[in-house]
């Protein structure tokens, strides 16, 4: 079957206005960058892909992932990993528990703990398992969020301006790490950004969006359900 993320004639409209219309294929390890100013409805597309689009919008087209039609799959069955500009670590869990939450089920307690520790070590956060996420620096949080997502073994990566909150130096570091991990796992990546630096670093296909006025917040108003 075809590996990769396949957007087949995806069109999202609100009322009479078409916000986005896209027909692209992202191969394993490839990056598609969607560019546009903020508020242009990029997040609407991500909400559609994760299955959390508000009912205010009308969408048509299909989404295929690794040869499966996931257009109507429940959000938690899509196996699409996502990173937002906020780290969105669960504040009530320790760093380790956050990672374990992402880790796919199976294995003994000790095995799972070992995998969590290994994941932390991989991003240079040895021994951080018991830390309160709120005490981490911005870069550390971003790394934890990345590893939490990767432990859930996604089949594709959605990045919603994930680097925009980081300062310039950190930004390069984290961005490189994300792309390297995606490459290593041969994951198709869809990057939404308004930053040309991100686009250049990604180096793949670029899809330019028209200026539209749909608020990004409205787009994700509906829950995954």
């Amino acid at each position: 079957m075809d590996k990769g993320l396949d957007l087949r004639g995806v069109t999202i409209a609100k009322g009479d206005r078409t916000l986005i219309s896209i027909n692209r294929q992202i191969g394993p390890g490839d990056v598609l960058t969607i560019m546009g100013p903020s508020g242009s409805g990029k997040s609407t597309l991500l909400a559609y892909l994760t299955g959390t689009l508000s009912t205010d919008f009308r969408a048509s087209g299909q989404v295929w992932l690794d040869g499966h039609d996931i257009t109507h799959a429940a959000p938690y069955r899509r196996r699409l990993g996502i990173l937002f500009q906020d780290d969105l670590l669960f504040p009530h869990m320790s760093v380790g528990a956050n990672l374990a939450f992402g880790l796919r089920p199976g294995g003994s307690r000790a095995e799972r703990a070992a995998r969590v520790d290994a994941a932390l070590a991989e991003v240079g956060l040895d021994g951080f398992a018991d830390r309160d996420p709120a005490t981490l620096s911005g870069g550390q949080k971003a790394r934890v969020a990345l590893m939490r997502m990767l432990l859930s073994e996604p089949c594709a990566l959605l990045l919603d301006e994930p680097f925009s909150r980081l300062d310039a130096e950190l930004r390069v570091q984290v961005r490189d790490m994300v792309f390297a991990q995606a490459k290593a796992r041969a994951l198709p990546v869809l990057l939404v950004t308004h930053d040309a630096m991100d686009r250049d670093a990604a180096g793949g296909d670029v899809f330019l969006m028209d200026d539209v006025e749909a608020g990004p917040d409205r787009a994700t108003a509906r829950p995954p359900g």
Partner: protein, 564 residues
């Protein structure tokens, strides 16, 4: 999974459970009010029950009392709240008042009323404080303060208790307007604090606190426990008469009670109509006043009034609780001694058995009613989140309905209806009756924080492979631990304070701390009243303390939740 299929039906079930008893109760009131009561072999239709009501000696005074005490206490509590906000919002005094008054929301009405009575009676603490050195009183003056025929003491008690409620509701409403900037603009234009707030912020805030104000009005007009403790008895307000008729072993008196309940309902509807017209009039003249552009010369007067009245209210409740505490440990305590001759534990030991029993009953009913309400409220909110099933813009109105319809109007009918179906009154029935009143408050308390939760957390969790149930249990609820526990505390406090539903639906056989305390009111044994009143207050307040303490302990190592 079962739950997933059940969830969409939760909102409807909630509405039925909350409004069903209200509507059934009204129906159960209408039939006997017109002479139909099969259980007693009475068949209507007839207007005799109404004739009996209006033949009661002093009935017009009772009716007048219901209306005047209700309107007056609603006006007063709203007025004080407005003055406090207008004169002081954003200041340190305001923060202090808010901190002082908020906990009193949980103090049961009966306990607050007892405290007030113990303070201001001619033999109360204030008189003792001033006697005999300032007053020359060797014995209390023969002044009619508590239970005065005008019901002013009752108005004071109700105002004390309703003000914290309106204060918190207003606080929430003000948060949704850009009050600070409006005030800055108004003051820059040369308006004083009070007139500026009233002219620029109040018109936007009032529509949002309108329903709570109606709740206060309807409640004050039909309250029973406060009326028994502080209200006049020659004659008593209508609501007290209704309850007395309900308690009579002679079933024929149920007809009179039902007719009285309908009269009460009509009175509340009329008073709400009057209030609505008042709103329109104030709105009309207010806009003229706005146009006038006067900058408010009485600003200082208004400000001082607000602070003084707010301060007095806070001190009255606080002082009331302290005097309750002193009485509960009092040996012999004659007038005008400031403190008892000796302190003793005997009052507590003497009542320990009764208290233990009443506390168990109270805890059982409160936790059952709160758990049911919490599950339903969470179910509704989660159904809204998952399936977009909003009750709609009228939902809020429906939510307030059981609180706006006077208890004395539908609870007698509910009990009579149960009698007709041969349903025995007992714990189960009382729990369900409590749910009617607990659920709206739990819902109101939980709704905003639940909806304010960052939905992206849910998106992330789902992207990590967590189903909706796991998101709810493992992410959302733990993160919302504090608001959930606060909602539980609110529910428990509401349930603990319920007098009429417990008394009427329990058929007088379900004895909670509140029914026991109010029953003790007639006996006038201040020591027993103090012991029960304090227990009642504790039962309502301790859950709030836990709601603060537990999340702080559980999440002591989670900085991200410390202010959440």
């Amino acid at each position: 999974m079962n739950r997933r299929r059940l969830l969409p039906f939760v909102p409807m079930a909630t509405l039925v459970l909350m409004l069903g008893p209200v509507l059934a109760g009204l129906w159960g009131t209408i039939l006997p009010a017109f002479g139909q009561l099969s259980a007693a072999g009475l068949h209507g239709p007839s207007l005799d029950p109404f004739r009996m009501v209006f033949a009661t000696p002093g009935i017009w005074q009772s009716i007048r009392l219901s209306v005047t005490t209700g309107l007056l206490s609603a006006l007063l509590s709203l007025g004080i709240v407005i003055l406090i906000f207008a004169g002081w919002s954003g200041t340190r005094s305001f923060r202090l008042l808010e901190r002082l008054l908020s906990p009193f929301l949980a103090v049961p009405h009966a306990a607050a009323a007892f405290g007030l009575a113990f303070l201001i009676a001619p033999s109360g603490w204030i008189a003792r404080l001033l006697s005999p050195w300032a007053t020359g009183w060797g014995r209390p003056p023969d002044w009619l303060i508590v239970q005065d025929p005008w019901g002013l003491c009752m108005v004071a008690g109700l105002t004390l208790k309703e003000m914290p409620f309106l204060l918190l509701m207003t606080l929430a409403a003000v948060g949704q307007t850009d009050a600070i900037r409006s005030m800055a603009v108004a003051q820059a234009l040369g308006y004083g604090r009070v007139s500026g707030w009233i002219k620029t912020v109040l018109p936007r805030v009032y529509p949002q606190i309108r329903l709570p104000v109606y709740v206060v009005l309807a409640y004050a007009m039909s309250v029973v426990d406060v009326a028994i403790i502080l209200g006049p008895s020659t004659p008593a307000p209508l609501s007290v008469l209704i309850v007395r008729w309900m308690g009579d072993p002679d079933l024929a008196l149920r007809l009179r009670a039902a007719a009285g309940a309908l009269v009460q309902f009509g009175l509340v509807v009329m008073a709400l109509g009057l209030w609505r017209m008042g709103e329109a009039a104030v709105g009309y003249f207010g806009s003229m006043w706005l146009y006038h552009g006067k900058r408010g010369r009485y600003d200082l007067v208004g400000r001082s009034f607000g602070l003084v009245l707010g301060g007095i209210s806070a001190l009255a409740i606080l002082g009331g609780l302290v005097v309750l505490a002193v009485w509960s440990f009092a040996g012999f305590w004659g007038f005008p001694d400031l403190l008892p001759a000796e302190l003793t534990l005997t009052n507590w030991t003497r009542h320990s058995a009764g208290i233990a029993q009443a506390l168990t009953e109270t805890a059982l009913i409160a936790s059952a009613a709160t758990i049911i309400s919490l599950v339903l409220a969470l179910g509704c909110l989660e159904a809204e989140y998952r399936h977009g099933l909003r009750i709609g813009s009228r939902g809020l109105w429906l939510l307030y309905l059981p609180l706006v319809i006077p208890q004395t109007a539908f609870l007698p009918g509910l009990q009579t209806l149960m009698l007709g179906f041969g349903v025995t009154s007992g714990q189960g029935a009382v729990i369900l009756a409590h749910v009617v009143f607990v659920l709206p408050y739990v819902f109101l308390s939980l709704g905003d924080p639940f909806r304010a939760w960052d939905a992206k957390m849910g998106v992330i969790a789902a992207a990590l492979g967590a189903g909706p149930d796991r998101v709810l249990w493992a992410v959302r609820l733990p993160m919302l631990l504090r608001p959930v526990l606060t909602a539980v505390a609110v529910g428990i406090a509401v349930s603990v304070g319920q007098y009429l539903p417990t008394l009427l639906i329990g058929g007088g056989r379900v004895a909670t701390l509140t029914t026991e305390a109010v029953a003790l009111a007639s006996g006038g044994d201040r020591r027993a009243i103090a012991v029960y009143g304090l227990m009642q207050t504790g039962a309502a307040l301790i859950p709030f303390a836990l709601a603060l303490l537990v999340p702080a302990l559980v999440w002591r190592n989670r900085r991200g939740l410390r202010h959440g």
